[in-house]
Each structure stands twice: as C-alpha cells, then as structure tokens.
Chain length 400, copies 2
C-alpha cells in the first residue's frame, strides 16, 4: 500500500518532468508577482549572471535611431539587482495600470523568457511572456477570463477557390450558440501585416472581450471570424504543411489584392456552415493596420456585404507597385459604398501612430465627398494596447 | 508615392516589432537546422556566455539520484562551441530518427528557450522548444501537418452537474463533419497527471495523427473529445477565471473518484451537441498514465458506455487514501464490464516504465479471471514518444 502511494507520487513527478523543482522544491521563484498595490516584481534565479535586465511595454518607451528609417521608439529596459541567493529582482517604482503587458529578460545581453512564467504569446517571429493587471471596472477587466458564460473557439479549414487552396481560420461562436436554433450576426476581424489567424485570439483577447461584453449586455451575441490575411499562406506558421518554419512575410505578394478579391469565399463558407443572419445589416468587418487596409478595400469592393466597417490604425493607400483592380478608382468605389449607406464607418487611430497623417488625408477625402464616418482618437501609437481598446469600443456599436 | 511605399515597409517593420533583426537583418541565426542527413544543428548567438549547452530528449538519457525516490533518468546534455562571431553551435553526431523532439538551451547553467525557434509546447509547468524530424513512411510522418483534408479543433465549455461547474474541453471533428449530415463515433482521450485539455492536442499531435490516418483510410472518421481530468479545475492554466497562475496540482483531490463518477456529463454533452452514434459500439475511451487510470475506472464504473478501452502506460491501482465508491470492488466491476464483452481492451506500456510492474499485476488479474485483452509493449518509459505511438496504434482498431 505504501509502495502504491509512492508510485503514484512518482508518477506525478515523472509526468511533471523538469518542472519538479518549480512545483515540488522548497523555495519557488515567483515571477512576475503582482503586488497588492499593482506594482510588479520580476525575479530570476541566475547566480552566474553579471547583468540581468527586464524589457517590456510596461516600461516607458525609448527612442532609437534605425538606419534608413530614422527615429523609432522601443520599450525601455530596467536593471534587476542580485541578492545573496543569486536571485535577481526588480519592482516597478509605481503601480501599473490595468492592462495586458509583455516582457522579456536580458541576461548579460541575451534575451530570454522568464522560466517562472509559462504564459507567452507569439507575435509574428517574436515570443514574449505576458501578465495581466486586472481592475474591476477597468477596460483590462474585459481582457480577463471571468466567471461568465464562455463562447467556443474553433480552428476550421475553409475552401477558397479564389486563392486556390484550403485555408485555416479561427471562429468564435457566442455562449448559447450550440444550445439555440437562432441565427447570429457575423463580425469579420482581420489581423495586421505579419500576423495570422491566431493574432486576434491571442494578443487581441477577442474571446475574453466578447464573452465579457456579451455577459454585461453591452454587445449582441455574434459570431467572430478571424481569417489569415496573407494570401500566400494557408495557415499560421507551424499549422500548415510547411512545418515548423521560421515565420516570414512575402511583402511582394501583399499588394496584389488577392486576399481582398477572394474575401467572398470566407463569407460564403461562414454563411453555409454556421447559423448566420446572411445579409448586409448583420455583417461587420474591421481590422488593424494591414487588416484595416483590407477592411477598407474589401468593403468598398463589395459594397453590399457589410453595414459596419472599422479601420483600426489602418494603412489606407496601396503601396507603390500595388497592382490590382481592387485598388483602382478608390473615390468612385467609396461613393458606391456610401450611396448604400453603411450603418457605421468607424476610424480609430492613436495620436502617435506613424499612419496618423495617412488617416488625416483619408478623413479629408471622406469629408470632401460628404461620406459620413465616426472618428475615435486615442493616445499612443501602433500597438496592441490600442487595438484591444478599439475592439472593446467597436463591438458594442454593432447590430443594434 | 515613394513615401507611401516607405510607410508600408515601416508598417511591416513596426508590426513585426522586436523580430525585425531576425526577419530583416543580414545574417539570421537558423536554429534548429535539420540537415539533409537528419543530423540537427543548434545555434545560439551569445558572445558573452562562458558555456552554452543543449538538453533534450534527442540526447541519450542520463541517470540521476533523487533523494527519497532513488535513481531517475533525465535527458542528457551536450556542449556547444563558440565561433569568432559569438555564435555557439552543436551538431548531433549521428542522424536523428523521425520523431517530435523537445529541447532547451543552458547558458552558464541558466535554462532558456531558443530565441530562433518560435515553436514551443507547454507540458504542465515547463515549456520547451520543439522540432520534428519527418520521414516519409515513418510514424513521425503522422505527427506532421500534411497536405490532406483537416478536421476542426474547438475549445468548448460543457456543463458538469456532477462537478458543479462549467468546464473546458477540446474537440476534434473529422474532415467533412461540417459538410455532411452523418453521425460519427466518438473517442474520449484523457491526459496524464498535471496535464489538461491542451495536452493531447499539443504534445500528442492528435489532430495531425487523426487527419493523416483518416486520409490514408487507416482510421474511421471520428470525433475525438479531450477532457480536463483534474476535477478541481474548470480549464487549463490561463484559460479559467483563476488567471495566469502558476500551473500546479492538488494531489489531495485526485483520488476521490469525482472526475470518473461525473464522466457521463461529458458523454451527455457530446451526444446532445454533436452528431454522434450514441451507443456503446461507437464509443472508445483511452488515456495516458492518470488518464489510463481514469479510463480503466470510468469504463468499469459505466460498463455499458464504451466498447473500446485503451490503457496507455496506465496507473492501475488507486493510491493509498483514495476514497470513492468508484474504486470499490475492482474485480467485481471488471467482471460486469467483461460480461458485456467490450470489442477491445488494449493495454500498452513501455518496458522501462515505472508502472510496468503494476501493469504486470493487472494483466495477471485479468488472466486469472479470463478477461480478454490485447497487450502491446514498446521500448522506453513513461514518455510522450510512447503515447503518440500508442495513439497511432489504437485509433486504426476503433469502430471497424
């Protein structure tokens, strides 16, 4: 009997593998530790290191010169100090606002993940650890999994005749979808350059934001469809037959309008495989950065598809060399679209965004032609923090 | 026009963030590099490091003494050597067999992820990088995403009255499920101690194995349901209202038979929300380690539910102090179960598994009572390599 018990413990240890020290050892390193006053302490056991630093978007931005591009801002860096046991630590000098933050350590100049934190998110070819500062009543409370009914999140493969392949996408169905016979409106949500069908669900916290807004009665129950906007890919890195290859972007293939032109393939799949309200009044499209560019050009190319359009920090004008009928006669197509009176044309951007001037130019074009839109300006630049804000602002306006 | 093009490039750079060096810089570090002869080269740029090592399951196991437990095996360690540019590298002395491997770097004794490899998998509280050696005709070819039709993978929340909460699970539906009106058999697949509803889909490569076996006609199209076997949890770490907490196990609550007793809640949800063939002939249950223990005790507790039972490196006997009617009268319940003639009772274990002797004892019990089973023995111990093998062996035998 004693032996059987020991074996069971052993079984646990074994399955846990290398984690045994963290899980079963005496003094476990806790990092990051969110203190009661919302300051945060980072810790790393590195007795042999000469210098340990932490970098992340919770620190003030620093300016840096990039050859050919000029001044670029990047997250700041803070030094950790070592105690007698070889544990390095740093506590933020002031409390952090509620938000989802990313960070990494720098050990003698080498970037590394925090071994005490299993939570990390990939953004294109970079992985960072994440932590969340909660705050009842704060916007970040919507980014958290709360005790509310949860929707389902599925990865499905749809057929795109327009792109000549099966492609992967991520679909959120709202709580109750499986138990009802109702039809639902659909919100198409597009990622930025270098992202993929995992971007909005991971960094955008789409499932949590929708669950929480719906639970509070602030948003209509809706289906959210997150596509892969890279026409050359069939799926996110690691999820296609290309295998575990290094994530990369083929910029040369990003300006042919292929994804935009083929977008009805996505809508067709969703309308034939989900219980949707399959009309313009019950369809929205929005995207960040390149996804905003896609939303702009898709919605004017197919003006009878979407009644709600959201441009989040959007690229506006096609890049030099772009060749596609999708991009021709921009003003004429916008006129077509606005003659069909979309319910909402929503433009959001940060006041430090490098695309700010392009958005000013676009709003002037809309103003000049009398095309109505709603404008939302936030602080900061071209960052996920803003895109989560825009999502929580945009979704409650849909399908009302 | 030129400015617009520059802005577009900048937009890409910006979105890519910290990855710019890897994506846009001159000499990119490739790691791991799978060479044409299937040797593998690991590389790390660490000019200030004194010692860089790599550890992983591609290296021969080493023996180690653990106080109170005796001799334990753990993956070996190999030294990298530094070149004049500060790039450390190590190439395996011989080709690696096709397999999914995990590894980490040790830099001056500090364990870290490979910054050149975004592919990592969490196993309980440990994250390691992964890579896959493919081989046409090899078993590992089933672990890869190939150009075959893909099923869908969904995370859904089901109601468990037996455990008094909504709980998360992962469900694979086979290619064609969405486009047909057919009903499908269901395979319930359970994780080990410390795992959760993400374990089989991530480390077990369940979606890839099923896609590939179905594409070759070796397996029937089936639904695969991957539950969370920790009665105390509602979802995997990071996916519940507990937030981004350190993954841990509450061993004291693992031996009350609660998960086993409540398992009909899962079956009810699946049968009422999916197009299933809702009878014993079209249900299978299997699990690894603790999940094998669960499969054994669930299937004899509810002998009219499952016609196919798989024990993968299973724990057999309840631990000391286990208190549940589920565990009472083991032989009597097994007699009930075998009187109902299950189609397949399959027991698989590695010849170095620490649970080997318990499985010998269990087979003697079955033999003594004339309860028929099929036995499969593989080399090695209590490791994921074996569980992927067992899955590829077990699935083709189901529902034929």
């Amino acid at each position: 009997m004693k032996k059987s018990s020991l074996l069971f413990l052993f079984l646990l240890l074994w399955t846990v593998g290398n984690a045994q020290q963290a899980l079963w050892g005496g003094s476990q390193i806790v990092s990051p530790e969110i203190n009661p006053d919302n300051t945060v302490t980072f810790r790393l056991f590195a007795p042999n290191a000469k210098k340990v630093q932490v970098t992340g978007d919770f620190l003030p931005m620093q300016k840096k010169q990039v050859p050919g591009l000029g001044e670029v801002e990047e997250p700041g860096v803070a030094d950790l100090t070592k105690d007698d046991n070889g544990v390095w630590s740093f506590t933020t000098p002031s409390p952090l606002s509620p938000e989802l933050y990313g960070y990494s350590f720098l050990v003698d100049g080498l970037k590394m993940m925090d071994p005490s934190n299993v939570y990390m998110i990939r953004d294109v070819a970079t992985v960072t650890n994440v932590f969340l500062i909660d705050g009842e009543g704060s916007r970040a409370h919507y980014y958290k999994v709360n005790d509310v009914p949860h929707g389902s999140v599925s990865r499905v493969w749809y057929d795109s005749p327009g792109l000549g392949k099966k492609r992967r996408m991520t679909i959120y169905t709202p709580p109750g979808y499986e138990d009802s016979k109702d039809s639902y409106p659909v919100f198409y949500l597009l990622h930025g350059a270098g992202g993929d069908e995992e971007a909005w669900i991971a960094l955008g916290r789409t499932a949590q934001i929708l669950d929480n807004l719906i639970a509070e009665g602030k948003a209509e129950p809706m289906i959210v469809v997150m596509t892969n906007g890279n026409a050359v890919q069939s799926a996110a890195p690691g999820e296609s037959a290309e295998g575990f290859t290094v994530p990369k972007m083929d910029v040369s293939r990003m300006n042919r309008g292929e994804f935009e032109a083929s977008f009805p393939d996505v809508v067709n799949y969703v309308d034939t495989h989900y219980r949707t309200k399959a009309d313009k009044h019950h369809r929205a499209i929005a995207g960040l950065s390149m996804g905003g560019f896609h939303s702009l050009h898709i919605s004017k190319q197919y003006p009878d598809l979407f009644d709600y359009i959201g441009l989040f920090s959007a690229a506006i004008f096609p890049p030099q060399g772009a060749q596609s009928s999708v991009y021709e006669d921009m003003t004429g197509k916008l006129r077509n679209q606005f003659e069909m009176k979309p319910e909402l044309y929503w433009i959001a951007i940060g006041d430090k965004d490098f695309l700010y001037e392009d958005n000013v130019k676009f709003r002037k074009l809309l103003d000049k032609n009398g095309f109505p839109y709603v404008y939302y300006e936030s602080p900061d630049g071209h960052i996920w923090k803003n895109w989560r804000i825009y999502l929580t602002e945009f979704v409650p306006m849909l399908f009302k």
